[in-house]
Amino acid sequence: MTVAPAGPIRMTYREAVRAALREALAADPRVFLMGEDVGRYGGTYAATKGLLEEFGPERVRDTPLSELTFTGAGIGAALGGMRPILEIMTVNFSLLALDQIVNNAATLRHMSGGQVSVPLVIRMATGAGRQVAAQHSHSLEAWYAHIPGIRVVAPAVLEDARGMLAAALRDPDPVLIFEHAALYGVEGELPAVPRQVDLDRAAVRRSGDDVSLIAYGGTVGKALAAAEQLAAGGISAEVVDLRTLRPLDDATIVGSVRKTHRAVVVDEGWRSGSLAAEVMARIMEQAFYELDAPVARVCTAEVPIPYPKHLEDAALPQPETIVAAARSLVKPRG
């Protein structure tokens, strides 16, 4: 007897994350969740809601406020044969855990001459846009993407919110998943049976000819909105979603630039030292002679994110600023 495949299901990004977590817990007894308020509270962004009730307190572990230690404990548990999924509430608090991530998770394998792997997944919310001010609005993906020994991914679409976790658990090394906090409420349709996604390739989310808009995480939607506006003005923009921030998929980036000969990198990180800079450097290195104009970037202004909406909006990349940057490249100079 075969079961007819169910139709697509409407859900939010949050629900997609939750479904992925539930599947992971159900599929592998070595998997467990650990983090602040993932259990009784239901998760700061409600991504883990209901999982404590379903899987019990051994597998869904509320931790004390101690980011450094529970992260290190996750690394230790991974060494010990488990497959921990940590939730660091937000990237802002991950600063307290960086020592363990950099000096242990990323390093133990090489430093021990390959004796261990650290099959750890760390999820964290990232980004600004919700008026939570300077200490709660960081986008530090670029920092993490600088560290050898870990993988960094940024699900920008529901399919990745659903699929990247399983792929991350298949990776024998630490994987950090950055979920942009503004995406949790985004709705969309997903197939009832989740598709496997890979963590190696960037994705072209919209095809175009005149300019490549290269984005990730929270800026992919903005780049798509910009592409729409550009189309209305007769400019055909291709939108590349980086998906995996470390290692970067140079082939897809360069492939797009070879086609369009122009690119704007869109990045919610602060401009100086942004991931956008790295993408620009790679295009410089690998596709310099393909460029018809210098690659531009639209990043966050170099300011601790201010609370009021009008200032926060002005600080962050917006479809309008992306459009303007793209136009300036496509229009002839002077």
Binding site: G39, R40, Y41, D62, P64, S66, Q131, Y307, P308, K309
Partner: protein, 325 residues
């Protein structure tokens, strides 16, 4: 039992608790109306702590607080208008609108801000006290933080450093029994917080945080020691928050019955009864207070509503300090 202070002062404590309560209620309302955005953490239930503790401090002491700091800011003397304008994100706010609810600052009142990183203010307080000590200023720095913060390593480190150098810090721990949804006994194996302080060499005391006079008395004693050069002190104020952690919290982690039980110990009615029983407060007094506070708050809201926004052109102002020419 702590003796009741003279009438004016006694009524002043009630006024401040009421001012906080009404400010918080108004803030919740304005949040629902979309006037206030971002995170909003209400202090309702804990008013006796900020009110009593702040009264034990003088203008030259310094304060470091958390994201749940409207009450502390208000009783420290930041006007309701400046607080409200801050939560509206207006340029007339006490942090020029840039900080919002979690980052109220007023350095002229030595109020060194709300801090939104749990435990983030603790070392700042140690440093402010160090500066005082090195400059020969006999004043205290009071650092407010929650039970949750005591699980962070920075808590132990900060107490140790203050004790090692005998710095004038009052570590004011508001134990409201929860860090977001995590009850203290689900976060810490040893729930006696005073033990943790003494293990770092900081003398510690515990006080009923629902009793404003007890708070006042215990804080006065502690601050006297701190200002007198005896080194830091730790005070645990046992209290409870009546509202959700923030405006997003569905409160799955505690029962309505528990909350109701604690509401019976609401610090404001308890103190009203106390004042009444001592003949210091008549019904008319209370009505007058409420009227005055309502007027203060509607003026504050008007001020916030009418104040201008910071021009977008000023986005990058104050990232760096203008350098002397």
């Amino acid at each position: 039992m702590t003796p009741t202070p003279p009438r004016d002062e006694a009524i002043g404590l009630l006024r401040d608790m009421l001012r906080i309560r009404r400010l918080e209620e108004k803030s919740a309302e304005l949040y629902s109306a979309g006037k206030i955005r971002g995170f909003l953490h209400l202090y309702i239930g804990q008013e006796a702590v900020a009110t009593g503790a702040m009264r034990a401090l003088t203008a030259d002491d310094a304060i470091v607080a958390t994201y749940r700091e409207h009450g502390h800011a208000l009783v420290r003397g930041i006007t309701a208008g400046a607080i409200m304008a801050e939560m509206y994100g207006k340029a007339s706010g006490c942090s020029r609108g840039r900080g919002g609810s979690m980052h109220l600052f007023d350095v002229s009142r030595r109020f060194y801000g709300g801090n939104a990183i749990v435990g983030g203010g603790l070392p700042l307080a140690v440093g402010l006290a160090l500066a005082d000590r090195m400059q020969g200023k006999a004043r205290a720095t009071a650092c407010f933080f929650g039970d949750g913060a005591t699980a962070e390593g920075v808590f132990q480190e900060s107490l140790n450093l203050a004790a090692l150098w005998r710095l004038p810090v009052l570590f004011a721990c508001e134990n409201n029994r929860y860090a977001m949804g995590t009850a203290l006994d689900r976060a810490q194996a040893q729930t006696d917080l005073c033990l943790k302080a003494t293990a770092q060499g900081v003398p510690a005391g515990r006080v009923d945080g629902m009793d404003v006079l007890a708070v006042l008395g215990a804080t006065q004693d502690a601050v006297r020691a701190v200002r007198g050069g005896e080194g830091p002190r730790f005070l645990e104020y046992q209290t409870y928050r009546f509202r959700a952690h923030s405006m997003f919290d569905p409160e799955l982690y505690r029962s309505k019955a528990e909350v109701e039980e604690w509401k019976k110990r609401d610090p404001i009615p308890a103190y009203v009864r106390c004042l009444e029983s001592e003949g210091l407060l008549a019904a008319a007094d209370l009505e007058r207070l409420e009227r005055e506070i309502a007027a203060e708050l509607s003026e504050a809201v008007r001020f916030a509503e009418e104040s201008p926004l910071e021009p977008v052109a000023n986005l990058l102002v104050d990232v760096c300090t203008p350098r002397p020419a």
